[in-house]
């Protein structure tokens, strides 16, 4: 009963279908707008609505833009010139400083982040998709109870289980190894929930029934029919998983001590610690932050279709 609301916006088919129709933003046939402009006091209201939208977007964009401008400045200009102006263009020197610090450990951190996030996105995504598919397509005893466990997993915040995980991992002796990160990132209850929604809206029961009549076993039908049909859902789940792992801070902070194993989020926070007493470190910290944001920004811009569908199918996190 408590699951009711969680389910509401993602009624099988409803959410995803809506997304497909509106995948490209405001492209749907608009309500007759042109004729209303004159009737509604027209220009003034159009102006104020759009002005407010621009104001809101400015709040969202300016801090990111600041990061870009600041990354191009040396220490003197960072503290000496106006924030949104170009000083002496020192971006490449800053990048060189980032690359040179501690023997190029920054790129190692980036590589670690990519490894952890890609591993979790692909393998963790597949695990979630399989489970979600099973919850949608198979009948078995105790289905409701098992799914309640999944929802419980959705409701407990990540950070509440990080310390318990650390405590258990230290007994198992795997703290400060990659396993301390790679095992937890496979667990994505929300992915299971999403996959169930995708499965019921993308994979028609008739197709599976036809495959069964033709003699295909359930595993074969999953890999040759179900999974390809759910591919957009798989990509969406994987994308959110990737971003979640890339952004994760507390888990690696708690689990890892070896600098060589850190993901970029924790690495940069260590550098930030240096820059407080020594402001000359600031351009390096800022440039490193800027570099670490680029892959995610690129992914989000290129994969717009997928994250929008993920948000629609059940409002993530």
């Amino acid at each position: 009963m408590s699951t009711k609301t969680v389910n509401a916006p993602a009624r099988p088919g409803a959410g995803v279908a809506v997304h497909q129709k509106n995948a490209d933003g405001g492209k749907r046939p608009r309500r007759p707008g042109g004729s209303r402009l004159s009737r509604e006091g027209g220009f003034a209201s159009a102006f104020s609505v759009n002005a407010l939208l621009i104001l809101g977007c400015a709040y969202m964009v300016l801090p990111v833009l600041w990061l870009f401008f600041a990354a191009t400045k040396d220490t003197a200009d960072l503290y000496g010139t106006a924030a949104y102006s170009l000083g002496r263009f020192a971006l490449f020197e800053n990048i060189a400083a980032v690359a040179g610090q501690d023997g190029g450990i920054f790129f190692r951190w980036m590589g670690n982040s990519v490894l952890y996030a890609a591993f979790g996105a692909v393998l963790g995504g597949l695990i979630s998709v399989m489970a979600g598919y099973a919850f949608d397509k198979f009948q078995f005893r105790g289905k409701k109870t098992w799914f309640a466990f999944v929802l419980l997993g959705v409701l407990i915040p990540n950070t509440a289980t990080v310390l318990p995980m650390y405590l258990l991992a230290s007994v198992a002796g795997i703290t400060n190894t990659v396993w301390a990160i790679l095992i937890p990132v496979l667990c994505n209850p929300f992915g299971v929930y999403l996959a169930r929604v995708y499965s019921s809206s993308y994979v028609p029961d008739e197709t599976l029934e036809a495959a069964r009549v033709d003699g295909a076993g359930p595993i074969r039908s999953f890999f040759s029919l179900g999974l390809p049909m759910m591919m957009p859902g798989f990509i969406t789940i994987g994308l959110f998983q990737f971003v979640g792992i890339w952004n994760n801070f507390m888990l690696p902070l708690v689990m890892l001590q070896d600098q060589q194993l850190l993901p970029v989020s924790v690495g940069i926070s260590i550098w930030q610690g240096y820059s407080i007493p020594q402001p000359e470190f600031s351009p390096m910290v800022i440039t490193a932050s800027f570099l670490s944001v680029i892959p995610l920004l690129a992914a989000f811009i290129m994969l717009q279709r997928f994250w929008k569908s993920g948000l629609t199918a059940g409002s993530v996190k």
Binding site: T5, R31, E40, G56, M60, I219, M250, I268, S289
Partner: protein, 301 residues
């Protein structure tokens, strides 16, 4: 029995198990087992022998750790701070998202696709980096914000003891508003056009339509957003952890998560850290359940 298992082939328990075992294995290893282990740990305590020499003895202490956690002023202070944070953050973020989504859905809005992308931009910035950017934007000397306010005759120290909580709220608002705008905007786009058309024919103004027709229709989406926001606020860790390096106003026990971290890694009291983690998890589960109940009642009404 034989015929049954044949007709059920492919949909039976055994195949389902094959698909579910990987997930429930990681779920057990990464969630259930840690929580159970912490629960056990939270009932024990390490007691040093008289002079502090020799090995520490582990003994069962019942609820002693929980009592100590709740008696700790820093922990209850952190809980209070977290409550205040929720009271500021949830209305600001959710309210902002609703207003922005309604504006975006107004008939006169232009360039919707671009606005959607821009408003979502902060979500692509990791929490650590977001906190770091804002830490600079709060620091006099570097910050264009502080400078602009000063030239307007306003002197604010964003990082002092009183301002630091709203300052952290602002970081979270910045990170999450756009994300929720997209969810609400999609819900708005699904509002049947006939209803809006009927309202228009009846002479309802745009603002009136937004408030009395569109808003009630997106309430289900809104309740899900509130649920996930509540869960999210209890996670508060990254932002204060980063900001704490830039100012002494954020102590090492500022919110419950930081308190638990501090207990484990600075005070080396793993049993207390376990108890605190259990308290946070229970609080989260309880709160989410309450929000779910409340919103399902609201939606029925």
């Amino acid at each position: 029995m034989a015929t049954k298992s044949r007709t059920m082939s492919g949909t039976g328990g055994r195949t389902a198990a094959l698909f579910l075992i990987p997930f429930f294995t990681v779920f057990t290893v990464a969630m259930i087992a840690p929580v159970i282990y912490s629960l056990v740990l939270s009932f024990y305590a390490q007691q040093k022998s008289g002079l502090g020499f020799g090995g520490a003895k582990t003994s069962f202490v019942g609820l002693e750790n929980y009592l100590q956690v709740f008696q700790s002023e820093t922990f209850t202070g952190g809980l209070g701070r977290l409550a205040l944070y929720c009271l500021l953050y949830i209305p600001c973020m959710v309210g902002g998202a609703v207003v922005f989504a309604l504006l975006l859905d107004a008939t006169v809005a232009r360039a919707r696709k671009l606005f959607q992308l821009l408003v979502f931009l902060p979500h692509a910035v990791p929490g650590v980096i977001a906190a770091l950017i804002w830490a600079y934007l709060y620091t006099p000397g570097v910050s264009p914000l502080v400078q602009a306010l000063e030239s307007g005759g306003i002197q604010i120290n964003f990082l002092d003891v009183h301002m630091v909580l709203p300052s952290i709220v602002n970081i979270a608002v910045w990170e999450w508003t756009g994300y929720n705008v997209i969810i609400l905007f999609t819900a708005l786009q699904a509002v049947p056009r006939e209803i809006l058309e009927a309202a228009r024919v009846d002479g309802a103004s745009e603002i009136r339509t937004a408030l009395s027709i569109k808003f009630p229709l997106i309430l289900p989406a809104l309740s899900v957003i509130i649920l996930f926001t509540v869960i999210g606020t209890l996670q508060l860790f990254t932002e204060p952890a980063i900001i704490s390096k830039a100012t002494a106003s954020v102590t090492s026990t500022w919110v419950p998560n930081l308190w638990a971290y501090d207990a484990a890694f600075n005070r080396h009291n793993l049993n207390q850290a376990a108890a605190a983690s259990i308290i946070i998890a229970l609080l989260a589960a309880g709160l989410s359940l309450a929000v779910t109940r409340l919103s399902s009642r609201m939606n029925k009404a």
